[in-house]
């Protein structure tokens, strides 16, 4: 998938990841996109090399008595694609997201 083919939702998701929302559910929360959109998009972005996925350290997960989570990271390709997409979808330029490390669910 070339850079030009990045859809709007993929671009939004990339931007969310670049701002530190790195887990699937966090991205769903921050973008407001349905999970049925976000996950396939994540897979596609990973397939095309825009994102890379990693597993959380076992120790952290174990401490919290839950399985390790998967998180996504920007790659060089992803950053270029995002920059390209922002030029096309001008709205993304205006949407400033606060980079946060540990987002809390809004309805907590």
């Amino acid at each position: 998938m070339g850079k030009g083919f990045l859809t709007y939702s993929s671009a939004v998701i990339l931007q969310a990841v670049s701002h530190g929302y790195r887990h699937g559910f966090d991205i769903i929360d921050i973008t407001g996109l349905p999970g049925g959109t976000v996950y396939p998009a994540l897979r596609r972005l990973e397939d095309t090399g825009c994102l890379a996925s990693k597993w959380e350290k076992h120790a952290i997960a174990q401490a919290e008595a839950r399985p390790p989570r998967k998180y996504y990271e920007m790659t060089r390709v992803g950053r270029e694609a995002l920059a390209e997409a922002i030029k096309r979808y001008r709205l993304l330029e205006l949407t400033e997201l606060n980079p946060i490390r540990d987002p809390k669910p809004t309805n907590a």
Binding site: H23, G24, F25, I28, P34, G35, G36, T37, V38, Y39, P40, R43, E56, A61, Q62, E64, A65, R66, P67, P68, R69, K70, K104, P105, N107, A108
Partner: protein, 892 residues
């Protein structure tokens, strides 16, 4: 390992993930489940303990988990991709592992596919390939009815009217073939050319490679523009491909023409199967066809007409416009055009009159090769069935491990399709080779036939299509059978039980194969009988030690008297050549389909003025013809030089003629009239032996020989009988013809034996096609039978062992096993005989009078097939008798 695993609380969202996870390709499943589970768990932990959650939160969690479903769905294509690759890899491995099986299967199928592809390419060339011009789909042929449902060419005046009166065609062209003699640089050659209307190249959209093409200006005034355009091939082969050919003068049919241009490479005119070499303006027609001026004759329907439809006009509109013009012409010139009408058809002969006969011939060929393909396919199916039985264990284990039947079917189908595609690739190579062979073969007819067979995309598509089809169709049944395994028995390794059930399929395949190959063999056998019969046929002349050369003195612009003089002089000189026993000229030499008939009127005996007057074949010959042909005169005398144009009219008749009109009487001296009831009577001076005239399988026909010099013909064939070697003789006679006229082209020169090969051509082709494919079919059926028999013997080894331990003799075992196979064979033979009886009627015309139900052929081929089948049963059966009961009983 993880604490949470110890508390498997019923949480709907987690269960959903487990469940949906089944959809995910196995390769990704563990990761996928963990990712979703971790997210949900984490979210759960964020919110609070499960027990304390509000139902909205629980619902939210569940809602989120349903997204996993979409995620899993998105991963589906990957699963298919993975499995397909798995299947392919596995299939390749299996095929490589069983090299013998794969080789036999691929080869068998390749033969079938190759034969089909080759025949299809013939069909493709003749019927599907477009003309080599711009927008060929806009072209249609316009032909004129003959009033009897047949359609032919159009006369030039009618062509002009169609061209000028219609408003549906962007252009209407006319063309006609002309036999030519070309003289240049001291060489005389005979070739074929087109005479074409001035707009020909313009309407076709063909631009010259060199110089210019014929324009309407060249075609305005009669005889005014002696110009010629060469085909690329002609330019290359006859003029060395040099540009200096432009402006050169060449002599054609005695007139001088200036070369004005060379057509582009690949343009061979307006018929896909013919390739004339030169184009002349139609206005030069009278000069090129001396003594045959037809430009003003509305009754001579002899040019082919094609039109290019205007953009936006469809064929139906054009046809109704042609109907209107046809009616106009019928009103204006009723004597020529009454009841004829104009009809549109696909461009060229192949779109019109020759379509049906060609389709018939190709249809028979196609039928044969499809039978062969069916045979190959049944063999493949049988091989696959046997293989499936061998693989029962493997399949049962996989089924037991939870592989779905559908998945297994796909796996097995992948293998058979792989086989079929391999066979398709090999088949194309085979077809290419067959085509090369066919191209080298030139039919002995005097037309510039171009059978430009090649593998284009349509042929390749066809090959790929039938490969896929056979792979799927004939792989499906065995695969279906194979996966219908009863797990329990299969795993218990009691193979003998499971095979019983599927043997009906295998058996019916054998019966089918035997029947099919018998049909092919009977077809081949009948053809061979026909050829045999043709060799013993009473020709009425002796084809050995005779040569014939045809030429047309009219083409050189000679007058009647001149032609007679030259013919006499030529005969004298040829007879004086060393080794020549006799020489004579004839209008036509038998056996020739062009042999014409004339009406016979006999005073006092038959109705004198009746259109239904009896007819007889007739030919015009010179003194010496009977001697040269080796035809015996039974009574009376031969023609002499004295039987000239001023002498009383005389004829020689054949035995059948005498028998028919004067049975039991002496015909010599009797008189009758030829052609017209008021014609000058002719007197019979001799009776010649009967023979074959138009074709080899005709019944005895009445025949009249007239002296050539009492009824003038310009074109003639010289027959020379000699004791000299035929090629030397040919050169000597050619030399004499050259001396007669240095520019005289020789239309054909061949030995009489070569001449006779033409009427036998269709039968020869059919005999070799049926014969070779019949033998191929026999081999396939024998291989199939052998395979099935040896397989069944190997499965019955224990049973045979028990029988032998209980005292059965070798011959009992032999009978047991052979009987089992021969029952199938005999059933197949019966079905095949019935099928052959029904199908061989179609070939009647090719059979040279051999009956389509010739008992010798039917019984002979059935016996041959039964014998080969018996051998195929006997070999495995003999192995069965060698079974050592002790080993067999231990055999598991």
């Amino acid at each position: 390992m993880f604490a949470f695993l110890k508390h498997p609380v019923l949480k709907p969202h987690l269960w959903l993930i487990r469940f949906v996870g089944l959809l995910v390709p196995r390769r990704l499943r563990a990761d996928w489940r963990q990712e979703w589970e971790a997210e949900l768990r984490w979210r759960e932990a964020m919110l609070a303990e499960w027990d304390k959650l509000s139902w909205q939160n629980k619902l939210d969690l569940f809602w989120r988990s349903t997204s996993a479903f979409w995620d899993a769905l998105w991963l589906q294509p990957k699963r298919w991709e993975d499995e397909m690759m798995q299947d392919l890899r596995y299939g390749m491995r299996m095929l490589r592992k069983h090299k013998g099986f794969s080789a036999v299967a691929v080869l068998t199928l390749a033969l079938g596919i190759g034969a089909n592809t080759a025949i299809f390419s013939l069909l493709n060339t003749a019927l599907l390939r477009p003309l080599p011009i711009a927008q060929p789909e806009q072209m249609v042929s316009i032909s004129q009815g003959e009033g009897n449902g047949r359609f032919s060419g159009v006369s030039y005046p009618n062509y002009r009217d169609v061209r000028d009166r219609n408003d549906v065609f962007a252009g209407v062209i006319g063309y006609r073939f002309a036999p030519l003699s070309l003289s240049h640089d001291g060489i005389n050659e005979r070739l074929w050319g087109y005479v074409v209307s001035g707009n020909y190249f313009d309407v076709l959209g063909v631009k010259p490679l060199l110089g210019r093409v014929i324009t309407p200006e060249d075609d305005r005034n009669r005889g005014a523009h002696p110009v010629v355009v060469l085909s690329h091939q002609c330019w290359q082969q006859r003029f060395g491909g040099t540009p200096s050919v432009l402006g050169k003068n060449i002599v054609v049919n005695g007139g001088s023409y200036t070369v004005i241009g060379v057509a582009p490479q690949g343009f061979y005119g307006t018929e896909v199967i013919a390739a004339p070499e030169v184009w002349f303006p139609m206005m030069m027609q009278a000069q090129l066809e001396a003594g045959n001026d037809w430009l003003d004759k509305r009754g001579v329907d002899n040019i082919f007409v094609m039109g290019r439809l205007k953009p936006g006009v469809n064929v139906i509109q054009a046809q109704s416009a042609m109907d209107a013009i046809g009616q106009q012409l019928a009103r204006e010139y009723p004597e020529f055009n009454e009841g004829k009408g104009l009809k549109l058809s696909a461009p060229g002969w192949m779109g019109g009159g020759m379509r049906a006969p060609l389709l018939g011939f190709v249809g028979v060929l196609m039928f044969v090769v499809i039978l062969v393909l069916l045979l190959a396919c049944t063999n493949l199916a049988n091989l696959l069935l046997a293989r499936a039985t061998e693989r029962r264990k493997e399949i049962a284990v996989r089924l037991a491990l939870g592989v779905s039947r559908f998945r297994l079917l796909r796996q097995l189908l992948t293998e058979s399709v792989l086989l079929a595609l391999g066979a398709g690739a090999l088949g194309v190579v085979l077809a290419w080779w067959l085509i090369r062979l066919a191209i080298r073969f030139k039919p002995p007819i005097d037309v510039p036939l171009q059978i430009d067979l090649h593998l284009d995309y349509r042929v390749l598509l066809f090959a790929a299509g039938i490969s896929l089809l056979t792979g799927v169709l004939f792989g499906l049944l065995p695969a279906w059978q194979a996966t219908k395994t009863d797990l329990l028995t299969a795993l218990k390794d009691d193979a003998a039980i499971g095979t019983q059930r599927r043997s009906w399929l295998k058996n019916s395949l054998i019966v089918f194969q035997v029947a099919l190959s018998l049909v092919l063999l009977v077809g081949g056998g009948l053809m061979v009988r026909a050829l045999q019969k043709a060799e013993t046929v009473q020709l009425g002349f002796n084809p050995n030690n005779a040569i014939e050369l045809s030429f047309d003195l009219r083409l050189q612009g000679y007058e009647q008297a001149q032609i007679r003089e030259s013919q006499k002089r030529l005969l004298e000189r040829v007879r004086a050549l060393p080794g020549v026993q006799e020489a004579g000229l004839a209008d036509l030499v038998p056996v020739d389909l062009h042999m014409g008939t004339e009406a016979i009127f006999i005073e006092g005996q038959l109705p004198e003025r009746d259109a239904r007057a009896p007819r007889a074949y007739s030919n015009r010959v010179t003194p010496g013809y009977f001697g040269a042909m080796g035809t015996r005169l039974l009574q009376g005398r031969d023609f002499t030089v004295q039987d000239s144009e001023n002498a009383p009219r005389v004829v020689i008749i054949n035995e059948s003629f005498a028998r028919r009109f004067w049975p039991g009487q002496d015909p010599i001296g009797r008189q009758f009239r030829l052609s017209r009831a008021d014609a000058q009577p002719v007197q019979i001076i001799g009776v010649a032996q009967d023979g074959k005239y138009a074709n080899l399988n005709e019944d005895a026909k009445p025949f009249v020989f007239r002296p050539l010099w009492q009824s003038f013909m310009g074109s003639s064939t010289l027959v020379v009988r000699s004791v000299a070697e035929s090629q030397q003789m040919m050169a000597a006679v050619r030399n004499e013809l050259q001396q007669l006229d240095p520019n005289l082209p020789i239309a054909s020169a061949k030995t009489m034996v070569e001449h006779l090969s033409f009427p036998l051509l269709p039968t020869r082709v059919a005999a070799s096609v049926f014969g070779s494919f019949g033998l191929l079919g026999l081999a396939l059926a024998a291989i199939g039978l052998y395979g099935v028999m040896s397989y069944s013997v190997s499965k019955r080894i224990r049973e045979i062992g028990i029988r032998m331990a209980l005292g059965a003799q070798s011959k009992d075992v032999l009978r047991l096993t052979i009987n089992q196979g021969m029952k199938l064979v005999l059933l197949g033979v019966v079905i095949g005989l019935v099928g052959a009886l029904a199908l061989t009627r179609v070939m009647k015309t090719l059979l040279m009078g051999v009956s389509a139900t010739d008992p010798l052929t039917f019984v002979g081929t059935a016996l041959l097939l039964t014998f080969v089948a018996w051998l195929a049963c006997f070999l495995p059966a003999r192995r069965a008798t060698k079974v050592d009961p002790i080993i067999a009983l231990r055999h598991d």
